[in-house]
């Protein structure tokens, strides 16, 4: 494998890892709230969370490009803080990927939390456990499956990201040139051999990751019974 291709692969893994960690941290409270809330705007929030599933990546990418613009509030603040634009940077890709993979983290977590049931949480409360305490000692262990599924799907989805990165990345080696962009460039320039190689690696990893989710979920289910 050529050095630039290896660098693209390594960058992709770094991106997927950072995004997965962030999504678990941000997705957990959001999913918990969605699972417990009685508010009538819940469907609205759920619809917003699910939007990246149906929006074309170019739409999301274009909005992000407008948002990252140094004269927009977000892009401007970032430029002040770091001296760099959000577009064409690793940080920009992280933000883009967190939004793009959000439903893949929130939805499995939400269904896991919904399965926890109000009775156990009320029982914990009656034993004077604080809500935070009850979450970590009761709800979280009961939702392991949701956490593993959320983490793995977020990771795999970020690995395969293409359209959004194409819009906001700028194909900078070691910074934003992820593996799907590298493959695209190989195909467009008729370097099919390199494209085959990288594609095969991505295919194998994606399969193994998904296989793990299904095997794990099955085991867990048997365990619970």
């Amino acid at each position: 494998m050529s050095a630039p291709d290896f660098s693209a692969l390594w960058l992709t893994f770094r991106l997927a890892f950072v995004v997965t960690c962030l999504l678990l941290v941000l997705g957990t409270p959001l999913a918990w709230w969605l699972a417990r809330t009685k508010t009538h705007i819940k469907p609205v929030i759920e619809a917003i969370v699910a939007m990246p599933l149906v929006l074309p990546p170019t739409v999301l990418g274009f909005y992000l490009l407008v948002l990252f613009n140094p004269s927009a509030p977000l892009g401007g603040a970032w430029l002040q803080l770091t001296g760099d634009t959000l577009a064409f940077s690793f940080a920009g890709l992280v933000i883009a990927s967190v939004l793009y993979s959000l439903p893949f983290a929130v939805q499995p977590l939400q269904s896991a939390f919904e399965a926890v049931g109000d009775e156990v949480m009320e029982a914990a409360a009656s034993l004077r456990a604080s809500p935070i305490d009850a979450f970590f000692t009761i709800a979280a262990p009961l939702s392991v499956r949701g956490f593993v599924t959320a983490a793995i799907l977020s990771f795999a989805h970020t690995l395969g990201e293409f359209g959004v990165v194409l819009m906001v990345g700028g194909a900078i080696p070691g910074e934003t040139r992820v593996v799907s962009i590298a493959i695209y460039e190989h195909v467009e320039t008729l370097r099919y051999q390199e494209a085959y190689g990288l594609s095969a690696i991505l295919l194998a990893i994606s399969f193994l990751v998904l296989l793990f989710v299904y095997v794990f979920n099955r085991r867990q289910r048997v365990h619970v019974h």
């Binding site: 634009t85 577009a87 700028g170 194909a171 900078i172 695209y184 460039e185």
Partner: protein
């Protein structure tokens, strides 16, 4: 079923034109003039030259391709998908260095690196990108420090990077800048043609349209003075 086809079709023909995205607007402008002169109609599809090429190679029913380069039409001819000897250069793209905020744009600004981020089309993928690299090499701005460069998949994306303000300077097509309202054109520098390889855009008559009178007529119309005037006004040279 065939008996119900309107007889008029034979006279007022129809040509299916696959046009590179960057030239789409010009063809839209040429269409009514062509229809008025010949009575023929155009059905226009646009996309990147690479994708149109792949579609045609796989049997897409287009009569004419207006590509964004001269390589793909030549290849189509060689592979037997286009009529041998039919291709010709219908437009030559002009490259400009552009700053929409209208700050002084010149070769010096590029050479001094007086920009936060320079957007160009990917030189490996797009003719405008290769031309931009030629200019940078000619000016001795060897591959501006990697991180200051943002590569678009094509020149339309390089333009979007600059237009949205994410890059403050970019190599784009003159035709793109001229398509903006005059107040939004900012400042641009036009490098002399001698600094970069000509961005030749070739048309070819595809095997599918070999016997299509409307397609043949449009190939001729593209070479006319009337068409040339529209093409030039849109920011291209004609050969």
């Amino acid at each position: 079923m065939l008996a119900f086809l309107p007889l008029g079709v034979a006279m007022a023909g129809e040509a299916r034109v696959a046009v590179a995205a960057n030239f789409r607007m010009v063809v839209d402008e040429l269409q009514p003039i062509f229809a008025e002169r010949t009575g023929h109609n155009l059905v226009i599809s646009s996309g990147s030259t690479g994708k149109l090429f792949a579609q045609i190679a796989n049997g897409a029913p287009f009569d004419i391709i207006l590509a964004a380069d001269d390589l793909r039409p030549a290849r189509l001819e060689a592979d037997g998908h286009a009529v041998a000897g039919s291709s010709f250069t219908y437009a030559v793209g002009r490259l400009v260095l552009w700053d929409p905020t209208g700050e002084n744009v010149s070769a010096d600004r590029l050479a001094q690196g007086a920009f936060r981020r320079l957007a160009i089309a990917n030189p490996d993928l797009a003719p405008y990108g290769a031309a931009a690299r030629d200019v940078m090499t000619a000016l001795g701005v060897e591959e501006a420090p990697g991180k200051k460069l943002a590569l678009g998949e094509n020149v339309a994306q390089a333009f979007a990077f600059v237009h949205t303000g994410n890059a403050d300077l970019g190599f784009v097509a003159l035709s793109q800048v001229l398509a903006m309202p005059e107040a939004a054109r900012g400042d641009y520098w036009t490098p002399p043609q001698s600094l970069y390889r000509p961005i030749k855009q070739d048309a070819a008559l595809l095997s599918f349209g070999e016997d299509n009178a409307a397609a043949l007529a449009f190939m001729e119309f593209l070479k006319s003075d009337e068409a040339a005037a529209v093409i030039k006004r849109s920011g291209y040279e004609v050969p």
